[in-house]
């Protein structure tokens, strides 16, 4: 009897694992805890602070959020008005400087997309995404 109960419990435990395993396999590229940005392309607020003046900040959030508040000196560059805003950023860009792109929070994709276009299309070096985005910057600086 005891053995039978234990066996049934084991079967149930195994069955309960199945959906989880299936989901993990099916959505292996979309697992939320896995950042789509390689660590080498990300920078923390503290590290960015160490770089000091050697940084150009890019705010990838929509215009209205940038207008509300942004990192001092940041340039607005979002994909809604990419063609219009990109020349303005390139006019401020300097060789040897690092570019840090941020959006609202860790979960937003805008910074990653803007950083990717800067690397791929404009072929700029040293383009990073800020870990935690604007929320993290505010927490450390305000």
């Amino acid at each position: 009897m005891k053995f039978s109960l234990a066996r049934q419990a084991l079967i149930l435990a195994a069955l309960s694992l199945l959906p989880g395993v299936g989901q993990a396999i099916y959505f292996r590229d979309k697992i939320s805890w896995q950042s789509p940005i390689p660590p080498s392309e990300m920078v923390s607020v503290d590290r960015a602070r160490e770089w000091g003046d050697g940084v150009i900040w890019i705010d990838a959030r929509p215009d209205e959020e940038f207008a509300r508040d942004h990192v001092p000196g940041a340039v607005s560059l979002n994909e809604d008005r990419w063609n219009e805003l990109l020349p303005q950023f390139l006019a401020a860009w300097l060789p040897g400087k690092k570019t840090i792109v941020y959006c609202g929070a860790q979960s937003c994709d805008l910074a990653r997309e803007v950083a990717e276009r800067l690397r791929k299309e404009a072929q700029l070096p040293d383009v990073f995404v800020l870990e935690g985005g604007w929320e993290a910057w505010v927490k450390k600086n305000r």
């Binding site: 950023f89 390139l90 979960s107």
Partner: protein, 248 residues
Amino acid sequence: MKTNILALALSFILCLTARAELKWEQTSVELHPARGDKQAIGHFKYENAGKTPVHFKSVHASCGCTAAQSQKDQVGPGEKGEITATFNIGDRTGTQIKTVTVETDESANQKTVLTLKAIIPQELEISPTFVFWKQGEKADTKSIAVHAGKDFSVKHIKVTSSSPDFQTKVQETGEGQFKVDVQPNETNRLMASTLTIQAENSPKTFYATARITTAPTAPGAPTIQKAPAAPGGPTAPARPPAPTSQTH
């Protein structure tokens, strides 16, 4: 009394599935907006297949560029409806994947992630979109590769420089492929030009930037960090005047 945990558990699971509620016709849609479209709209249809009403707690898009809307807050048993996701294309290109998270008060599947995939046609692919020379550097020619996007046939392109300080020359390098040579007249002055690139018979305009930059700054040296100027302001290369142009 003979207990059968397995039977009990299975019957419990069956009970849960019997009152499964919101059924989605599809949770992902692929859209192919036409050239020039400003928005791509995805419709996610559902039906309440359960016996109790379902309430939407939240409908949240992953990106500010996507607006998601539910027709109603409550869906009665047997009722149908849809969530509409409107993706503003803006200046985005290529394949865009946006998600909408729908939260309901169902006992199971409280969160459903709807995926909207938009494949935005790109007439011309330009690489790089930025060429620069450091001040005082030799004024060598730098090249920009332009090629027609998938499903587009481009025989000629026209390149226009907003500044006469930069010369451009277009060469056809293959079917639908072009090389744009850009050369500054000199590199002693800080200057910039917006290169307007246009395929024949197409209203769509593409841009590249050419610029003479200052030499890299030493660490700790003062930096140029400006808030963006208004479009067409002092930091922006002028657009669209076209003093010089090259067509191929």
